[in-house]
C-alpha cells in the first residue's frame, strides 16, 4: 500500500549533512538521489505542486490538468509516495494525496538549506 510504503525511505534518510558541507557517501547519495529523481520529472513536479496547492487532492482531479492517462497518474503518484514526498489516504473509493512537508524540508536541508 502506498501510504505505508512511504515510511521506508523516510526513515532510511535520517539524513546526511548538507552537500555543501561535506562529501556524501555512496549510500547517502544513492538514497537521496532517489528522492530527487522523484521530483525531476515535469509531470511529477506539476502533480506535486497541484497537490500542494490544493492541500489535498484525489487522483481523479489530476488526470485533467496533467493531460495523462489514469495509469500514468497512478505510476507517478506511486513514485512520489515511495520517495516519501506524498502520502495517500484511502477514503471510500478515493485516494486522497497530500504532500509530506517533513520530507520536502529534508530535501531543502540536504541542499544546504537551514
Amino acid at each position: 500500500m502506498a501510504a505505508t510504503a512511504t515510511r521506508t525511505l523516510e526513515s532510511t534518510v535520517p539524513c546526511c549533512a548538507p552537500v555543501t558541507e561535506s562529501a556524501l557517501s555512496n549510500d547517502e547519495a544513492t538514497e537521496f538521489a532517489k528522492v530527487l529523481a522523484a521530483l525531476s520529472d515535469p509531470v511529477r513536479l506539476r502533480l506535486f505542486s497541484l497537490v500542494a496547492a490544493e492541500g489535498e487532492s484525489c487522483s481523479c482531479r489530476l488526470e485533467g490538468p496533467l493531460e495523462r492517462s489514469q495509469p500514468t497518474i497512478s505510476h507517478h503518484t506511486k513514485i512520489l509516495a515511495d520517495a516519501g514526498l506524498i502520502v495517500g489516504e484511502k477514503r471510500g473509493k478515493w485516494t486522497w494525496w497530500r504532500i509530506e512537508e517533513d520530507q520536502l524540508a529534508r530535501v531543502r536541508r540536504v541542499l544546504g538549506g537551514t
Copy 2:
C-alpha cells in the same frame, strides 16, 4: 564552452513561485525538472558535494573518489554545468569547478525554502 553555457538555464529560470504555493506551469516544470534531474544521480550528487566540500576542484581529482572513467566524469560535469549548478574555469591544462550557490539557493526556494 561549459562555463558560458551555464548562463543559459540560469537566466531562463527566473524562476517560479515555490511549488508549495501554486501549481507550476508546463514550461516552468520542464525547466526546473532539468535542474533537479542534474542532481538526481548518485555520481553527480557526490561529484557536486566533493566540489562543494573542496571549494574548488579539477576533474582529475574526481575520477578517484567517484570510481568512474574520465569520459564519464566529463559527461557528468557537463550536465551539472548545463543546469547552472557548477561553473568551470580553465587554468592552464586544468578545468577548475566550483558550485554556483545562486542556482542551488534557487532550487531550495522553489522547493519551498525561504
